[in-house]
């Protein structure tokens, strides 16, 4: 082992001994980045396990169902996960018993009660007709094999979905190194590769039939690494491990990549530096003509990076700027340089000044109402990156290579920007924040707050949750922290279940104002009981806090409850670290405090008396 590693290990052990948990985990992360090998995996996992209760890790029970040996990957997976802030407890299913595990209601799988299930099955294991035996088959037999296999997957997915609320990730089927018919295979659309791809399309349909079922494009993963290097026939025959030693970490990393959006380990904003990051050169020294960004080298590298950021922007990730510059000079590039892909409107926040970057990151996070643990930082300077890592360990600092040609890939490959569902609102999110800046300016111009509310031309729609709005509602329960009375997190599957039950009423809130449609920004789940309706969940996106729309929402719900014959409306306020903004909500709307416990406060409103009124500056529509 090199001296570097002994040194890093000594530092790790020193930090752990001194109770410097955050520092220890940064050192372990650096160690892992340098050398993500099986030997280091054991070391990294052992030390994170010691510190597990002292670090803000997201816990997850992960079940691996498989048709091949995966045990050697588990330490790599757990190490990569720990370094990313995820504490995994992994159950590996009985060898090749994936079907039984999914179909038998009392299997080890269901007893484990996993958060995530990964189904890793190879083509050669589940449909050998399309692998080794392909050349023997008639077209009809190929078709039958595809139908039968798709049907099997459909049955398994249904079984899992009916018995568990876990996220289910299904590997797509892999393609042979060389097709049975050689180069002839691809000349028509009836070949072996085509058959496997057709089967994978069927898997896409199966996944689309259920909430919470996702595909891992295994064939693409293998192709990215290189089919020739991926497989190890010798290990396959000796231990039913199809992957070569070097490929194990690639698969482990891909699993961790998918776990990021599934477990909410994502960044909502990417804060980027300007000089030598978004463009080559330093605007303060080189002037507008001297900086480099464009279609030709060396500016092409920076344009590629801007393209990557633009793609993130379309995915719903916010962009922000943090640059040590004179604002005028930096803005001149953003506004006027002809080859820039990114313009001021693409950024939800801009901190261009000479202050410390960590301070600026905190300011940006506060301005956008986002936790610093949802911030990613992009800067060409290793010094700035190290500073932010040390000062704000919860910020995801994107590691950049020396060569700018590698910048775009570093951003594209960062797992914190992965999303597995894209609600329409996410795509338009950045525009809302730009609109928000306009609203803030407007607020400065009006006389009273009521005048301000009136000037917004607010309109809200309260409607029952539908299949179309279900994903957004589930997303809101998972992401909303501040105006959230009980902070109950629900998956799409759980919302669907509630919708199907006769004693639940689920509502969504849509808000528009003079600047546009904010979209679906509120949700409420109420349970119908003999003595009245109880509010299980009532939340509002931070985007619309401070505009009295919560009063309108409550008014709409109360009217519905009374019309249905409910005697009272009641609910808990369960305090969390972040929901102080909602603490006085019930009190402010004439609810009576019924009782207080260590967990929170229970409030009730007698519906035979006056109902909460919708503010006069809000037009409310209640959809039947």
């Amino acid at each position: 082992m090199t001296d570097d590693h002994s040194e890093v290990r000594r530092r790790v052990e020193g930090c752990v001994a001194n109770g410097q948990w955050a520092l220890a985990s940064l050192e372990l992360a650096a160690l892992w980045r340098q050398k993500p090998t099986p030997a280091n995996a054991s070391y990294v996992v052992a030390h994170f396990e010691r510190m597990r209760d002292r670090l803000p890790l997201i816990s997850c029970r992960l079940a691996l169902l498989r048709s091949f040996t995966v045990e050697p990957m588990v330490p790599l997976l757990r190490a990569a996960a720990f370094v990313s802030g995820l504490a995994l407890d992994v159950q590996v299913g009985d060898f090749n018993a994936y079907a039984q595990e999914m179909l038998l209601p009392d299997s080890r799988l269901y007893q484990f009660d996993p958060h995530v299930v990964i189904l890793a099955v190879q083509t050669r294991d589940i449909v050998p007709e399309l692998w080794e035996q392909y050349a023997d088959l008639s077209p009809a037999q190929v078709g039958e094999a595809i139908e039968r296999t798709a049907g099997e997957f459909r049955g398994w997915v249904r079984a899992v979905r009916s018995r568990s609320q876990a996220h289910l990730v299904v590997h797509t089927l892999d393609e042979p190194l060389v097709p049975a018919r050689g180069v002839l295979d691809y000349q028509s659309d009836g070949g072996q590769i085509a058959a496997i791809r057709h089967l994978n399309q069927q898997l896409q349909h199966v996944a689309g039939e259920h909430a919470g079922v996702y595909l891992l494009d295994y064939a693409s993963l293998v192709a990215r690494y290189g089919r020739v290097r991926w497989y190890d026939e010798s290990k396959w025959l000796a231990a039913r491990l199809p992957l070569a030693a070097g490929a194990l970490i690639e698969l482990a990393n891909e699993w961790v990549r998918l776990l990021h959006p599934l477990l909410g380990r994502v960044c909502k904003v990417l804060v980027t530096d300007l000089d030598q990051t978004l463009w080559g050169g330093v605007i303060g020294e080189d002037g507008l003509e001297g900086i480099e960004v464009g279609a030709e080298a060396p500016g092409a590298a920076y344009r590629s990076l801007q393209r990557a950021l633009l793609d993130l922007h379309h995915r719903g990730v916010l962009l922000a700027v943090c640059s040590k510059n004179n604002p005028d000079e930096a803005m001149e590039v953003l506004e006027r340089h002809p080859d820039m892909l990114l313009r001021p409107d693409h950024f939800a926040a801009l901190q261009i000044n000479w202050r410390d970057k960590a301070e600026n990151l905190r300011a940006i996070a506060a301005e956008l109402n986002i936790g610093t643990d949802a911030v990613a930082f992009l800067d060409d300077s290793p010094v700035e990156r190290a500073r932010v890592r040390a000062e704000l360990p919860e910020v995801t600092v994107i590691e950049l290579p020396d060569d700018p040609l590698g910048y775009a890939a570093a951003v594209r490959e960062s797992p914190v920007f992965e999303r597995l569902a894209l609600a329409e609102e996410d795509r338009q999110r950045a525009r809302y924040y730009a609109d928000q800046r306009q609203r803030a300016e407007l607020a400065g111009q009006v006389a009273s707050v009521e005048d301000f509310y009136r000037s917004l031309n607010l309109a809200v729609e309260v409607a029952p949750v539908t299949a179309q709005t279900l994903p957004r509602v589930a997303q809101l329960t998972q992401k909303t922290n501040q105006f959230n009375l009980t902070t109950r997190r629900y998956s799409e599957q759980q919302i669907a279940e509630m919708m199907a039950q006769s004693d639940w009423r689920l509502f969504s809130l849509r808000v528009t104002d003079r600047f546009g449609d904010s979209g679906l920004v509120g949700a409420a789940c109420l349970r119908v009981a003999p003595d009245g309706w109880e509010i299980d969940t009532f939340l509002l996106s931070c985007r619309v806090i401070g505009r009295t729309v919560e009063t309108a929402f409550l008014a709409g719900l109360a009217a519905q409850a009374r019309a249905a014959g409910a005697a009272r409306l009641c609910g808990w306020f369960l305090p969390s670290k972040k929901n102080a903004p909602a603490r006085s909500f019930y009190g402010q709307h004439a609810f009576q405090l019924v009782r207080e416990t260590a967990d929170g406060a229970f409030w009730a409103l007698d519906l035979s008396r006056a109902l909460p009124a919708c503010p006069q500056w809000i037009r409310m529509t209640v959809v039947g």
């Binding site: 099986p38 040996t69 045990e71 330490p75 010798s234 000796a238 194990l248």
Partner: protein
């Protein structure tokens, strides 16, 4: 026996089997290390392959009966791959 390779193999042995490196000698084997079972053996082979950038055949992997033989297997493959 190459001292540098022995050193690295001892560290890998300690990491993979979860034992103190000071207890790892060329004689260390499944008889002296309790956690060195057949599944751990596969992990051990993979760890050696990853560390040295080599591929060990099934036969070579099965022949690794103690740390000394592990070093020999690594040296043999590393020599074959030298330019």
């Amino acid at each position: 026996m190459n001292a540098a390779i022995l050193d690295r193999v001892r560290q890998i042995t300690a990491d993979v089997f979860g034992v103190d490196i000071r207890e790892v000698t060329v004689e260390s084997s499944p008889e002296t290390i309790a956690s060195w079972d057949s599944q751990a053996h596969l992990n051990y082979v993979l760890a050696l392959e990853a560390e040295f950038g080599i591929q060990l055949s099934a036969v070579a992997a099965a022949d690794i009966l103690d740390v000394g033989l592990a070093v020999a297997a690594v040296e043999e493959r590393v020599a074959k791959q030298a330019p």
